[in-house]
């Protein structure tokens, strides 16, 4: 169980996270949604240790992990897929997967991770992770690097962005695999109705606060017709 206790985060006199309290249970799939600037990305960055909260605590299975660094959290089983994958110079897809698994992978093993995100090893394993790859390709490699870590708590910041051609079936399959693991908490930031529809729990954020939280069945109606988003999540979905 992962627990956030009274997390506050302020920058430039703006309350980005305002006394956030949340509990993430094992074996559950959480979708965090809400308008831009509502604090979703900051919240997950705080869970991963990329940002430090001004106050509050992060508790994993009864242990306070607020002071742990990013790599210490990674070693505890946290995985994080960035919204905007990072570019490198000289580091290849294969290098990244090796770092993710902490061993020198066989070609078949690399293939397994890449095929899960719909990429062919032959084409990609020796490619450098730089701007010669499209945004969508980098996004899939980013997700593959998280899968390769076998995370127990996997965080995906808008995984659907830029992967239009890749079937959502693959992505949901990735989430299912993670759920099978012992802790098995998946946290996804998403605006996509198709992802919201497979959530166990929905968390709706607005202005740095949790507006609503609960099982999908109870919330999905209000979320999809939420007028806080000027066009509504439905509208976004229809325009895609």
């Amino acid at each position: 169980m992962l627990e956030l206790k009274d997390i506050c985060f302020e920058r430039d006199h703006k309350k980005i996270l305002d006394h956030i309290n949340l509990i993430f249970d094992s074996k559950k799939f959480y979708v965090i949604t809400g308008p831009n600037g509502s604090g979703k990305s900051t919240l997950v960055k705080i869970i991963m240790g990329i940002e430090k909260p001004d106050s509050g605590q992060i508790i994993l299975d009864g242990e306070d992990i607020t002071g742990l660094s990013i790599d210490e959290r990674a070693k505890l089983g946290f995985g994080f897929a960035f919204q905007q994958p990072v570019c490198f110079k000289g580091i290849t897809v294969y290098d990244l997967l090796n770092m993710a698994t902490g061993k020198k992978l066989k070609r078949e093993e690399a293939c397994e991770f890449l095929s899960q995100v719909g990429l062919c090893t032959h084409d990609y394993v020796n490619r450098e992770i730089n701007r010669s790859l499209s945004g969508g390709e980098r996004k899939r490699i980013e997700i593959a690097s998280v899968i390769a870590r076998n995370p127990h708590i996997a965080i995906f910041d808008e995984p659907e962005a830029g992967i239009d051609l890749w079937s959502f079936q693959n992505l949901t399959e990735v989430f299912k695999q993670i759920e099978k693991r012992s802790r098995g908490i998946t946290i996804v930031i998403s605006h996509q109705e198709r992802i919201i529809r497979i959530a166990d729990e929905i968390i709706l954020m607005d202005s740095g606060k949790i507006q609503k939280q609960g099982p999908r069945k109870e919330l999905i109606g209000t979320i999809l017709s939420n007028s806080k988003c000027p066009r509504g999540v439905n509208a976004c979905e229809q325009n895609r």
Binding site: M48, D71, F78, F82, V86, K89, G90, T92, D95
Partner: protein
């Protein structure tokens, strides 16, 4: 002769390939040739007074491998060597050269290698150069390679230079003149630490139609080391040039890039890109999120960069 472990280690650093696999080679130690081999297609002829070599590659020679390593173990020695490579028409060779200096004493050791390449029509050269210094003495280890290249029609040359360790001061000068349809690709990777200094200077003149060049420089300057990269590309005809200079700086390291491109013809297309800065924070964060400590992440980023 190759008498001791130091020689072997130096050779191994500058020339990890097996010497016996080479079609021709010449090993120079402290200013003297200690071992040489040639074959009917590749002839290595010493110049007078031990001042260097003339290497003749016959036309149409295919896949010749030539090793020209230099090692210096004598403190206080300044070794100047002129090696001239004459590459015949349509010949295709790989040349591995490099210099390893071991200096345990307090006098400076210097190697100035002047390598001149004459590429005849349609010939191809891959030239790999490695520089390495070691030793516990206070004597500096200096390397000043000069490379001069003349490229005839449709010839091509690839140069990979690497200097990753132990060289206190290096001034590297490369000049090339390219004729019609010829291509020159240069990749250099330099890591400096401590108070080391490395300067590289490229002057490439594109004189023939459709001549092209790509110069990539990757430098990592750590501690209080200093690197300077200057390139001057002149396009006198319909030609293409791309120069890319990337630098990572750490601690008090400094890198200066001086780009100069001169398009002297309306169809000359010359591009220069330069980016110098510390390791991007987001790269560190990404690798740390894969379980690497900050130090490991930094090393992985630099390794990849200089790979």
């Amino acid at each position: 002769m190759l008498v001791n472990k130091i020689d072997e280690k130096l050779l191994d650093q500058v020339l990890p390939e097996d010497l016996e696999k080479a079609d021709a080679y010449n090993i120079r130690k402290n200013g003297h040739t200690i071992k040489r081999k040639g074959n009917p297609y590749i002839d290595i002829v010493p110049k007078e007074n031990n001042s260097g070599l003339d290497i003749y590659v016959k036309e149409n020679t295919l896949f010749g491998i030539i090793h020209i390593p230099v090692i210096i173990t004598e403190s206080g020695l300044t070794d100047i060597v002129y090696n001239d490579f004459h590459i015949g028409k349509n010949a295709n060779v790989i040349i591995l050269s490099g210099c390893g200096i071991h200096n345990d004493a307090h006098q400076d050791s210097t190697h100035d290698g002047i390598h001149r390449f004459y590429l005849e029509e349609g010939s191809k050269v891959k030239y790999i150069e490695k520089h390495y210094g070691e030793g516990t003495g206070k004597g500096e280890k200096r390397l000043n390679p000069i490379t001069e290249i003349e490229m005839k029609k449709d010839s091509s040359m690839t140069i990979d230079t690497v200097q990753l360790e132990g060289v206190d001061e290096a001034i590297r000068k490369t000049t090339a003149v390219l004729e019609e349809g010829s291509t020159l690709v240069v990749t250099e990777k330099i890591l400096t630490t401590g108070h080391q200094k490395a300067t590289t200077d490229f002057v490439v003149t594109l004189n023939g139609d459709n001549a092209s060049t790509h110069v990539t420089s990757r430098s990592v300057a750590t501690d209080e080391s200093y690197q300077e990269f200057s390139s001057n590309i002149v396009g006198n005809t319909k030609c293409y040039a791309h120069v890319e200079c990337d630098g990572i700086i750490k601690d008090k390291g400094a890198v200066k890039a001086i780009p100069e491109i001169f398009a002297n013809h309306v169809d000359a297309n010359l591009v220069h890109e330069a980016a110098i800065g510390k390791i991007a924070g987001e790269q560190l964060v990404k690798l740390m999120s894969l379980g690497l400590t900050e130090k490991e992440a930094e090393a992985a980023i630099i390794d990849g960069f200089l790979k």
